[in-house]
Assembly symmetry: C2
Homo-oligomer: 416 residues x 2
């Protein structure tokens, strides 16, 4: 998590990075505050137009970072005017000093933005346990506030500034209608290790010019998170800092939508879900040391929640992940991971596929299984593992990556 | 799991392997049945004297192997005359053919032992999903039965024959009194990967000449398992084959002990617990790729069960395990693992030690913490991580190993 040494870009990085259009009411600036890294940007400042509403979901860790506590409180107000993100230091497990540091950062940002401290949202990512010197933001945030920019380059710089062990920036955009009004949704994310199902990537920020009340915004965000960030895992380790914030500036001027069940929201929900899935998948594609992007599909479970737990048991199994790294269609390890999930399963009804190749059925190896065909599937950079439990109609889909010696090298190489 | 290539002996292997004394009523023989390996023994046959009583605990996997199902049934009878163990093939997820294979193995063994098939216990370890040809036992088991031996060399050969990816054989012995009578307890185990808290190592077999009724034997075994094999994890992956069997031949001729609470059992329980802990620790010491033996101690939790779950969350965290591999006193990752366990914890009361070095207290870095002292602790082959939650008096202790590129190499190297 703390390394700043150059790591090659993940082989699973997207071929094309989208240019993000402007979102009315959002301006961005980045800066070098030398919080931990030198020679690169490590601060993102986002100015949000008056009237911006915020929604958020956070880590379920019992030991959350000081910024997570701050954002949870700030959400009670519901109004947002500025977002400050730093990379290099997570300000997590820093005790009273951590809380003071967040409060001071908010004050500095509030002065720069001309707003209340409670309208400032803060996220930090990087090393845990090191005090974060908020004094480093003094001057920097005011400077940022003076040069915020709504353009594509500013969005690209924003995605870059929040990276830690990420090997590529993560950004996505959607355009959709609410009623007759066109609205934009932009998102950026960061995260590569310490990614687990209990919530988002470490950090993701989504901005829209839609006009939506906070209760509605929170509803669509929670629903979208369940289908996206809560379905991605790299190593099963849940961060103390996981933060997903959604800001709506209202500047698109769409007709008021006051109920979460309003049918005019259907397209917006779909576009948001889609964008969140894209960002979540980008996180799995940048999993530390990843060489394979893995989709795990479980069907025929007792229920959807049961299917999800089984899918996560498969996606988090070191033996399954190392087998995929080794391009080994080792379905025995998939059986093991199904068995250990503790969910209803009947060994003698299980069927397992790698890609389109059914390797097992009715509790034994598929007699028609071709090792050559399975090997061809395993050599691809994208691998799908599918399990049919044959019990009922519960289903789930999660995304992960393989476990390679690259993960060990990034997280645990012997210090020289 | 399937490799038979030579792996160097774990640096954590014991310096001395004990010679196991005879256990009255137990004779052992090994053989080469070429089930998967060639040039090594892969079958263990144990003859048990008439009147031998069996107890057992098994994997909690919902997809257990065919031999596990067989042993669970055989325990209902409670009488044991023979144990057959093979390495190389786990006979797991082999459907109807797997069940037939176990039944035929039991018949062959019963003929060799001159007993009922229901008095034969069977365990298999190795690759999952491959049909096991029980015909390979034909002739082999009868030959074994004709040359069983009670001596130390036979015990050493037994521990060797059941190995798969193990880099060293695992055996232990204790001598203890029940009343005025001296009884012996011998144990052998195997396991290196796919080791997780839901039960034992993959396979462990314990033999005693004590005379104990089955209910008492089962009681002492279950109690001992909770303190030993259920406190060890290598990779959090629970095997489909985990089996721990305890056989009591009764040939020591101790006074009858009919109640599990009989105080004359105290020394026996203590010796058995101690032997089971020794075997469980040997498994962690032979964790695939392990270079550090890690003890995780949690205290101050809401209760013992809560402490156990937190300890397991730490012991199974890839980020904690890679940090230990890297000799990095990264207590931030310990905080993360405490937080993700989902158990009651208060960030601001946490204290963390590596060895005797307190690195964090009251939710922040210990101001007296010496990086040099912590680094010295981390360079040792044995590392203890201690966490005090500061809430109540719940405590737990578990054992694991670090996560190195050796684990990846054993389980996932790209197939060439």
């Amino acid at each position: 998590m703390s390394s700043s040494k150059a790591t090659p870009v993940s082989p699973l990085a997207p071929a094309i990075y989208p240019d993000l259009p402007a979102v009315r009411g959002v301006g961005l600036a980045t800066a070098q505050a030398c919080i931990r890294y030198s020679g690169r940007t490590d601060v993102l400042y986002v100015a949000l137009a008056e009237g911006t509403v915020a929604a958020g979901v956070f880590t379920r860790s019992k030991c959350p970072s000081a910024p997570v506590d701050w954002c949870r409180d700030a959400l009670h107000g519901g109004s947002a005017r500025a977002l400050v993100v730093n990379s290099g230091n997570a300000n997590a497990f820093t005790g009273l000093r951590g809380r003071e540091s967040v409060a001071r950062t908010a004050e500095i940002a509030a002065r720069a933005a001309g707003c209340e401290a409670g309208q400032v949202f803060i996220a930090s990512t990087g090393v845990i346990g090191e005090p974060l010197d908020a004094g480093k933001f003094e001057g920097v945030l005011a400077d940022c506030a003076g040069r915020v920019d709504p353009g594509a380059d500013a969005w690209a710089a924003a995605a870059q500034a929040i990276m830690t062990t990420d090997t590529f920036p993560k950004r996505a955009t959607r355009n959709v209608r609410i009623g007759d009004t066109s609205v934009t949704i932009n998102g950026i994310a960061k995260g590569a290790g310490m990614i687990a199902p209990d919530m988002a990537t470490m950090l993701a920020f989504v901005f829209t010019d839609a006009a939506l009340p906070q209760a509605v915004l929170q509803d669509v965000l929670v629903a979208g998170t369940a289908k996206s960030f809560n379905c991605v895992t790299v190593d099963g380790d849940t961060s103390t800092s996981d933060t997903l914030l959604l800001f709506a500036t209202g500047r698109a001027g769409n007709d008021p939508v006051n109920e979460a069940v309003d049918p005019r929201l259907a397209a917006f929900r779909e576009a948001l879900d889609d964008l969140l899935i894209e960002l979540a998948q980008l996180v799995a594609r940048d999993g530390e040391g990843a060489r394979k992007f893995v989709t795990v599909e479980v069907e025929g479970a007792e229920g959807d929640a049961s299917a999800h737990r089984i899918a996560m048991s498969i996606a988090n199994s070191p033996l399954v992940k190392t087998a995929i790294a080794g391009e080994d269609a080792n379905w025995g390890r998939v059986v093991m991971a199904v068995g250990k999930a503790g969910e209803p399963a009947d060994r003698d009804r299980l069927a397992i596929w790698f890609g389109d190749v059914r390797v097992a059925r009715e509790g034994a190896r598929d007699p028609d299984y071709s090792e050559a065909a399975a090997s061809a599937v395993m050599r691809e950079p994208k691998v799908t593992v599918r399990v049919d439990l044959g019990l009922s109609s519960g289903r789930a889909r999660v995304w992960t990556c393989d476990l390679t010696s690259g993960y060990i090298a990034i997280n645990g190489d012997y210090r020289s």
